[in-house]
Symmetry: C2
Subunit: 462 residues, 2 copies
């Protein structure tokens, strides 16, 4: 049966929750007295509708309905999930929670988006504390999976279990924080980093942009896929986590940060960390972890390259310096490359779609040689492929060194037909392709003859 969520307080966080539920097929009741609430929600929804469905290689459920409610009662009365995202003041939270509980079902989950308050603080004046817990999301809520689920001793085990299930069902990851603490877990790190960042700026060491580059070109990429401890486990090498701590432990007493309230590194603490790390990552050898880390980094950095953003721009720039300059010829070596890890599929070999991409890139290689470069595209012309046929002759795997030789079969006005042969470095033919392209105007998106130096360069093939 379709479930219902009540969103109490819109804004970026409440709106993100709303979008997450609605796009997963839940009906949503919104209660927010702010006259701007609808506009704010629509902005978040627009972003969420653009982004969230793109994560999946299948369609999401049909969207649920959104009901703008005039009263708290109307919003929460039938709700399975009630998410409170009102301002971070305990008196406001208490008032809102009391009003919610005056009208909601006893079996409903009441999650609070609070960044800082402990669940026991939220429950202070409640007669049904068992249904209240912290469910702290991360912006953008419609994309990032993490929810810190923090119960107090008064939160009911049944409510907690059902909350986790419901979060998982809308694609979220409930991280059960077993012991309540100010700011939960993630925001403690964010706050420590924020404090250090303020010092660095105040002391004139670095600007906001330099700090961001120091993060996103380095450890940010590591953390996106492994976090802190698994990364350091690898740094410790075969000697293990205790060795890593022994090596970097002394830094705790050095002024490597202005935040100096450090715990004592007792043998007990070292052992606790090493044991937890074994439990977490011990199933893999360090070599395996290195390979997992590297493959993740390659795939993520290639994704950023495709977007032309962050570390991806650096790779693009560097790549440009490596692309060979070639004069046009009837047969040209149009590709020479390594097959990356993100091109394989469940059969353990390069997906057939990636053969199509190799031949598309090969065509780009030929076109570059005749002058179809960034400037030509910026001038409003390009080639679109109209028909491609591929014969798959041998399997190709990640790490294979492959080349493509391309031959002009037809060049006549706007028509261009290329034949490609894809080979391994040892000469084994992996696939052949025939590709028929038309020269187009990027403005009208219609075909037209090539212009300028491209037209001249192509004359030798007609």
């Amino acid at each position: 049966m379709t479930k219902t969520a009540a969103i109490i307080g819109g804004g970026v966080i409440g709106g993100g929750w709303l979008a997450r539920f609605v796009l997963n097929g839940w009906n949503v009741n919104l209660f927010d007295p702010d006259p701007q609430a609808t506009r704010k929600i629509e902005e978040v929804l627009k972003n969420a509708r653009h982004a969230l469905p793109m994560l999946y290689d299948t369609a999401m459920p049909s969207e649920g309905t959104i009901t703008l409610c005039d009263t708290m009662e109307q919003a929460v009365a039938q709700a399975d999930w009630i998410q409170e995202s009102v301002p971070e003041r305990l008196d406001i939270k208490h008032k809102v929670l009391a009003e919610i509980q005056a009208h909601c079902r006893a079996d409903a989950i009441i999650g609070s988006s609070t960044s800082g308050f402990k669940p026991s603080e939220l429950q202070e004046k409640s007669e049904r504390p068992d249904q209240i817990m912290v469910c702290h999301p991360f912006n953008p809520v419609y994309l990032l999976p993490l929810i810190e689920v923090v119960p107090s001793v008064q939160t009911g085990a049944d409510h907690l279990a059902r909350a986790k299930d419901m979060l998982t069902s809308v694609g979220l990851y409930p991280l059960h924080v077993r012991k309540e603490i100010d700011a939960h877990i993630a925001d403690r790190f964010l706050e420590a980093v924020w404090r250090e960042g303020l010092w660095l700026i105040k002391d004139g060491i670095a600007t906001t942009e330099e700090i961001d580059n120091a993060i996103r070109y380095g450890f940010g990429l590591r953390w996106a896929q492994m976090g802190l401890f698994e990364t350091y486990r690898i740094a410790g090498g075969e000697a293990g986590m205790a060795h890593f701590i022994a090596q970097f432990g002394p830094c705790l007493e050095w002024p490597w940060t202005k935040l100096m309230d450090v715990p004592e590194l007792t043998d007990d603490l070292v052992k606790m960390i090493a044991d937890q790390s074994d439990a977490q990552s011990g199933a893999h050898s360090i070599r395996e972890l290195e390979r997992i880390r590297d493959n993740n980094l390659v795939a993520m950095m290639r994704a950023l390259k495709q977007q032309g953003k962050a570390a991806g721009t650096l790779i693009k720039d560097h790549e440009k310096s490596m692309i060979p300059q070639q004069a046009p010829a009837k047969t040209l070596r149009t590709q020479t490359r390594i097959v990356p890890v993100d091109w394989t599929d469940s059969n353990g070999h390069m997906n057939e779609g990636r053969y199509g991409q190799v031949f598309s890139d090969a065509a780009d290689g030929f076109l570059l040689a005749v002058g179809v470069d960034d400037a030509y595209l910026a001038g409003g012309h390009s080639y679109f492929t109209v028909e491609t046929s591929i014969k798959f002759l041998n399997e190709t795997h990640a790490g294979d060194h492959i080349v493509v030789d391309s031959t002009v079969e037809l060049s006549e006005g706007k028509k261009l037909k290329l034949a490609h042969e894809m080979k391994r470095a040892d000469g084994t033919v992996l696939a052949t392709a025939s590709q028929f392209m038309l020269h187009v105007s990027l403005d009208t998106r219609k075909s037209c003859p090539p212009v300028g130096p491209v037209a001249t360069a192509l004359q030798q093939f007609s």
Copy 2:
């Protein structure tokens, strides 16, 4: 002319530098008295040869040579770049730097991999301090682009400029740290986070695994592409960075971390941050930044999904719950999805290779309906595509809702031929494809007839 680097001290860091240089075509001289040096370097090189070339869609230069040197003199005499990665003790660093400078060219760059020492400390006993600077890398050095380049007032401007150029030429990002400080920039954040992490473990709040999940399912993904301040600029919304600080500033005085040495949030400091943020990100509106962030997140999370790791596993699991169960039929709706942002190319539309992937996924959709699921693959059988022809009829763009209807044209023993029609939700036909597949054994990688329930399910089409 081929350049030469001298790597002083192997291990994971020195080995990473070595691999970065060699794979970019530099010759490398290695000096490391450790009898295990060659083995350690080979392990890093193996990882680097696997991963680094995969970042690029073109071939890297031919590898340079690696020379294992018996003396420091042999290693550094002709080197353009000398990278010191010996243990973190100042007396050792001083001794090694003196020996390097006794034999190296005056115009060579001497970079130190030190995590903590300031360049002025390294230069203390040097007669040519101008050629010495900190060049602090991040593990894995062969993949992560960040190098913190820290000169002292004694470091020569010419040496510094040439150092940055050479780092850029091997795909690195030199972050010029303008004011020397213990631990430079990035490690100050790492150290703050490490200290907070130790407290959380010591206090029994979270385990190493819980902490890693709190990072990699949340802010780690944000930081990999934007870092700290640009992310918070978005959180501040149209009201801007000063608003964000006003909103979260009070937390500085709350116990949100155990690291309490906080700077005072004066008006001057707030203005400095807001101004720097404007200079960094002011060219984009908040809406644009949100879209950039979301597209980066989608692309990176899809990359992790393809790897089946980190946040990608969560998406995969959630996706499974959304894939429709269908009975096999002669014509089947085999795909219904949104075109993601990572599928577009320089023409601003879906790359032809991704049409190939859609039809590959469509075939998977049909095959799933006849019982070719994870278990069937695990049992050692699958289908490989032998030939595909695609007609591209209309352009397709990121965000388009597309469907594919697939029809069985031939099912005969091991042979299976499907015809696909890809349409927009409004019915416009975007492309058609014909796809000829063979049933194979995943052990022998040779064709063979389908088995079990798949053979039975296919009988209705023969």
